[in-house]
């Protein structure tokens, strides 16, 4: 059953899958690269603080019911170690466009050195954000 032809085809399937994964990782890398140059968009942040860039809109229900409370909880826990920048995508569509935001909520976690650590498309709960901050 597992003859050479099957193994060759399995190898091709694996190669294509890895290629797709590579494209995905490259997309994330370009997002990171692009974001590196976008930090100038933000207010000056306190030194040694993580920055959470949070894109929302006034009509976004999960932003109000889940994402904002999660960020507030995180702020209480981390204090000045977390700098939050909230951006209304309807007021600043230029920023949403430059940051590649396609849906809200979207959060970008940037470490104190200005390196993008994580992008969360959709709701990211406090526990998840905390894990991303501590986990690297």
């Amino acid at each position: 059953m597992f003859n050479a032809d099957v193994l060759t085809r399995a190898a091709i399937a694996l190669a294509i899958s890895l290629g797709c994964l590579g494209v995905y990782l490259f997309y994330n890398w370009t997002l990171e690269f692009r974001t590196r140059h976008l930090l100038a968009d933000l207010d000056p942040k306190p030194p040694d603080a993580f920055t959470l860039v949070y894109f929302t809109t006034p009509t976004c229900v999960p932003c109000k019911t889940v994402q904002r409370p999660a960020i507030q909880k995180l702020r209480q826990m981390l204090g000045t170690a977390l700098h939050v920048v909230e951006i209304d995508a309807t007021e600043r569509p230029d920023l949403a466009d430059r940051w590649g935001v396609m849906s809200v909520p979207t959060t970008f976690l940037i470490d104190p050195r200005g390196k993008l650590r994580h992008v969360n498309h959709g709701v990211a709960r406090a526990e998840k954000l905390l894990m991303q901050i501590h986990g690297g």
Binding site: R9, I16, T59
Partner: protein, 164 residues
Amino acid sequence: MTTQTQNLQKVDHNALKANQLTIITINLLAFIFNFPILAAIVAVVMGLGSLLKVPGFLPLYRYFYKPLGLLKPDVLDDNPEPHRFAQFLGFIFMTGGSVALFLGASALGWGLVWLVIVLAALNAFGGFCVGCAVYYWLVRLNVPGFAKIPPAGFFPGMKPKARV
């Protein structure tokens, strides 16, 4: 001129995901073991799903994925029409691929099958439905029969995450 509307309905996105995962799995098996008949079966199921306006592999979701706890309902406010259109597009590609394979045009046939695999994977793992994006693009072009606009605040084709 078509009237564009936003009348969102409850759509279980994990029923769609189950459909996509099954399509990916069967198509991969078809390719690896060189069984074009499996690709043809996927085409037929997607065609039936399009006809009945449900995800083709919905019974698998109801009687396999859900009872085993592999997937739980993920009901979001969304338009079902673009997802049906995406499945119909998949059906067209799969039918073309299957016919090509049975006629001996392996490269074209497997190329179309792989196109469906990649698009289904993009939807299942990346949350982006290319067929839905095409649907919304046709709406913008005022093509008759295409009337639904994307949920507010979401890029056309992106899964409306965590909307409650």
